[in-house]
């Protein structure tokens, strides 16, 4: 029997349809892998009973010819998505023990399509981080190791549990959320595909909010096709989210295979700063060549406000977060530390419930919104955000897609960089602009560095043009022949 966990979603879908194995067998194989790799700490909550029950329902639907688009496919759900009857923590102590009575729109759609939830995946606390080290439930370890070394590496963040689970064959795919790169950067670190769709494609209803104007859910999978299959299920208009777009969902999978012949690919000079990691730069050049070889033309472009993106992001995102996280006050759900007064209960609850990085960002956000500072920080950041958006609209008047590295480095050690928040923030330097502009972006695994660690390339397109993004991604994927981790069956 083949190793069921290494199959792609597309392959498993076909084999389930042909009844080569059952959904229950497929799920059980993944539950066994989860058990075997508990040390990765990819899951905060495992839900084997739910998984088996849903797998059996899937088998029944397959038998009766009523299979959904993801029937029987075992997935992990980032623990930022509220799941009915299953603890949802956002990796924060303050929400520990919170069990929603409702299911997020995205996870509901995945459920309705027949997929099987394996459990809730670890992440940086409230999705704030680029290493998955800020989780109250402990850091996630990457399944990858540098050549000849045994020390643990980070899977990136904030969707670190999702990245580790998919790259380590614990799940066939996972949901992620991306506020400043939280899908793409970890995808790059562990050598998988991560897609952040256009802002407004996926409903945010039921996803614990970090920064509402930037948050967007997306799929994390091992192949471009799998990402296309999963994204189609995840997105679509939701009347419960006023920012979700009233647009029909394209058949992303159908866009694959159309190639890039005739497409114009923009190469932004600002993404090649002095001191850019040589291996990252070299891989980027390789990617450019692959696209040219496939018939695309490349165009040198400029996105002049790129350097302002990171500081802008670190004003907008904390500002929104400081307000979004005000509801965690110990009054209605989650943790509460009693006090002698209401104010004392608030401060004790929040002091005990939030971790360092979350407190850090709440303070920054509160500061930039304060009277006397609002104009200098928040308002100015909004103006720069508009300029960044204009950079992209100007660029997309000339090109069909933009190719950049996903992250400035490969994955770092679990114990590196902890003391320097700014160094950590620099991880998002190439991914943040897409969030600020609301455009879609994807990371495709493109090669390994000299240490044998994955590096990703990022493809950006204009709003609502995920189809072109998928076409470019697939050409890169085909050319890269990325060496996935091998596992013994």
């Amino acid at each position: 029997m083949t190793n069921l966990t290494t199959l792609t979603i597309a392959a498993a879908r076909d084999k389930l349809a042909k009844k080569e194995f059952t959904a229950l067998e497929l799920t059980e194989a993944h539950l066994a892998a989860m058990e075997k790799h508990k040390a990765l700490n990819a899951f905060i909550t495992e839900t084997p009973d739910i998984a088996c029950a849903r797998a059996k329902e899937s088998d029944a639907r397959i038998q009766s010819g009523k299979a959904g688009a993801l029937e029987g496919i075992p997935l992990g759900i980032k623990d930022l998505f509220c799941t009915e009857g299953v603890q949802t923590t956002a990796a924060s102590h303050i929400l520990e023990g919170f069990t929603p009575q409702y299911e997020s729109t995205v996870s509901q759609k995945l459920r309705d399509a027949g997929s099987v939830m394996l459990g809730k995946l670890n992440l940086d606390e409230f999705a704030m981080g680029s290493s998955n080290m800020t989780s109250y439930f402990g850091p996630v370890k990457s399944p990858w190791k540098a050549k000849g070394r045994s020390d643990d590496l980070v899977p990136g963040g904030s969707s670190g549990g999702s990245a580790a689970a998919v790259s380590g064959y614990l799940a066939m795919g996972a949901t992620g959320t991306d506020t400043g790169g939280s899908i793409r950067q970890p995808a790059s670190f562990v050598g998988i595909v991560g897609v952040k769709p256009t802002y407004g494609r996926c409903s945010r209803w039921g996803i614990v909010a970090f920064a509402s104007s930037l948050d967007q859910a997306g799929p994390m999978t091992r192949t471009v096709r799998d990402a296309a299959i999963m994204l189609k299920v995840m997105c679509g208009h939701d009347p419960k989210d006023s920012t979700s777009a009233k647009l029909d969902v394209p058949d992303f999978e159908a866009a694959l295979g159309k190639g890039v012949k005739g497409l114009r690919i923009g190469i932004p000079k600002e993404y090649r700063p002095d001191g850019l990691n040589g291996e990252v730069a070299a891989l980027w050049d390789k990617g450019i060549q692959w696209l040219k070889d496939a018939g695309a033309t490349t165009v040198d472009i400029s996105l002049p406000h790129t350097s302002a993106a990171l500081p802008t992001y670190y004003i907008v995102a904390p500002a929104e977060a400081s307000s979004n996280l005000a509801r965690y006050d110990g009054v209605r759900y989650g943790q509460r530390v009693e006090g002698r007064s209401l104010d004392e209960m608030y401060s004790k609850t929040r002091a005990a419930g939030f971790g360092f990085e979350v407190k850090n960002r709440i303070l920054i956000g509160t500061y930039v919104l304060s009277a006397g500072y609002y104009d200098a920080y928040y308002l100015k950041a909004q103006k720069i955000r508009a300029l960044i958006l204009k950079d992209f609209s100007d660029a997309f008047a000339k090109v069909d897609a933009i190719l950049t590295p996903t992250a400035p480095t490969a994955a770092f050690g679990l114990n590196d960089k902890q003391d320097d928040p700014v160094a950590m923030y620099l991880n998002d330097v190439f991914t943040v602009p897409a969030n600020l502009a609301g455009i879609p972006g994807a990371s495709v695994p493109a090669g390994l560095n000299s240490e044998g660690l994955p590096l990703g390339l990022q493809v950006l397109t204009k709003r609502w043009d995920e189809e072109t993004m998928f076409r470019v991604c697939q050409v890169l994927e085909d050319a890269a022949q990325f060496p996935y981790l091998t596992v013994t069956p």
Partner: protein, 486 residues
């Protein structure tokens, strides 16, 4: 209407601006589908959104937008086709999200005007600064448990309009008239029931004083959440006097938020300026800017009812009423409709005004009921006036019939018929009565004929007595005059 406080250093005037929170008439809450109805058991009208559960998002209730635009049109205000919802951030136990969704620098309605109807029949225009839409907070109850506070989130997310006046009011009486007029307009529009007791209309008053003749604006204090027109007037009067005392003592009035204690008729510090919240307003990223076009506004405008000011003008011109009388009648839409019904049935607008505004309103006041619960229907009152007009009954008889109508709710025609109250207009019967009175009172007849004409009233009275009040008084005097002529 001038309101001057005589201080030791001179005369002071008061400068008042009012902020009214009016609950929008809407089935559902502003950003959730939960019921906005008053009176349910604790926490029975609470959705996941209202409770601030993780991942919940607000979705704007379009009915509330329509109601706000409608109110803006009723206040002859500028309607902003683009407005923005903003978060007002502060912590309180009955505010689950940790912020109130309100509007800040881009409200849905801009400047407008409200006309005060002064008691002397004059009018005075008061500026409206803005109207914005926002959600209400829940309710904390502190006296149900020794150590715990109870939270009721039924009100959490209930739609409110905050209507802010310019500092154009100059007396407690004007503030009272402003509130009554605003309530009248809101009720006409059907956008707020104006019920201050249930909290569906609440008022914050900004009060400052200045020497008469000065145009400066001195430090103001905000008196929060006053829940009746009378208390607003009392609170302003007290607060203005307090300010005069402070200034005249050589001290400064501190800008602060105060509470009015109606039991002691005084205001007390609630929050000093130093303790004032920094609300950190910013546009709510969960909601898109609210935008609509001319056609949308025109569509709402087409459905507006005739509003109090227009109705008043029409009552003056069409019915010949005084400005004051017209103002009283139009204050409530139902009263105005009632009056018009009576006026049309009776064909006598002034008689109708007398009976509605004087007799009927006195009865309603007495009973403490509104026109909707009037024991006498407009149709019956109109019929009663018709009976007077066509001389079936006298004005005096009409008062008796009216009393019976209050108690029985009967049709006046039935009452008159059953009780044989029809006025005698048969000259023969009256003639007979007169002849008898003349023959029995020769002395009075002589006095009258010698010039003591004031005796006419006595003769009429005698005839009425002889006819059990049924004789037509006008006919009586006419016949008496003839017969008594020397």
């Amino acid at each position: 209407m001038s309101f001057i406080i005589k201080g030791e250093t001179g005369d002071w005037e008061v400068v008042i601006g009012l902020e009214v929170h009016a609950q929008v008439i809407s089935k559902a809450k502003l950003f959730s589908g939960a019921s906005a109805e008053f009176g349910a058991g604790p926490n029975e009208h609470v959705s996941l959104v209202d409770a601030g559960m993780p991942g919940m998002l607000p979705v704007l209730n379009e009915k509330c937008v329509e109601q706000a635009v409608r109110t803006g049109l009723g206040l002859k205000a500028k309607i902003n086709q683009r407005s923005v919802f903003a978060r007002k951030n502060y912590f309180y136990a009955d505010m689950p999200q940790g912020y109130q969704i309100s509007q800040y620098d881009q409200p849905i309605v801009g400047e407008g005007t409200l006309i005060l109807d002064m008691p002397d029949g004059e009018t005075r225009a008061i500026g409206i600064e803005r109207l914005h839409v926002e959600q209400d907070a829940g309710k904390s109850v502190h006296d149900l448990h020794a150590t715990k506070s109870m939270i009721d989130l039924n009100r959490s997310g209930v739609p409110l309009m905050e209507i802010v006046s310019k500092p154009d009011l100059r007396s407690p009486e004007e503030a009272g008239l402003y509130l009554k007029k605003l309530r009248s307009i809101l009720r006409y529009l059907g956008t707020c029931d104006g019920n201050m007791e249930e909290g569906s209309m609440r008022c914050d008053a900004n009060v400052s004083v200045r020497p008469v003749g000065s145009t400066e604006l001195r430090t103001r204090c905000e008196i929060k959440n006053v829940n009746s027109v009378r208390f607003v007037m009392q609170a302003i009067e007290h607060e203005a006097k307090r300010h005069v005392d402070v200034w005249e003592s050589g001290a400064q009035v501190d800008q602060e938020t105060r509470l009015y204690d109606s039991n002691r008729n005084e205001t007390r510090t609630m929050r000093s300026k130093e303790m004032a919240h920094d609300y950190r307003y910013f546009p709510d990223p969960d909601l898109l800017p609210l935008e609509f076009d001319d056609a949308y506004v025109a569509g709402i405008k087409a459905t507006l009812p005739e509003l109090p000011d227009d109705k008043k003008a029409r009552f003056i011109s069409a019915y010949g009423l005084s400005a004051y009388d017209a103002g009283v009648l139009v204050a409530e839409q139902e009263s105005a409709a009632y009056y018009e019904h009576v006026a049309k049935l009776s064909g006598d607008a002034k008689l109708a005004n007398n009976w509605v505004a004087n007799n009927l309103f006195a009865v309603l006041n007495d009973k403490g009921v509104g026109i909707g619960e009037s024991p006498i229907s407009a149709e019956h009152l109109g019929k009663l006036l018709l009976l007077i007009k066509n001389n079936t009954i006298s004005g005096r008889q009409a008062k008796d019939v009216f009393e019976i109508m209050i108690k029985s709710g009967q049709d006046p025609n039935v009452i008159v018929e059953e009780r044989g109250m029809k006025q005698i207009t048969d000259t023969g019967a009256i003639d007979a009565a007169i002849d008898q009175i003349i023959s029995q009172n020769a002395d009075k007849v002589a006095q009258y004929r010698e010039g003591k004409e004031t005796l006419m009233g006595w003769f009429v009275g005698q005839v009425m007595k002889a006819t059990q009040g049924k004789a037509n008084p006008a006919l009586c005097s006419e016949l008496l005059k003839k017969k008594l002529a020397p």
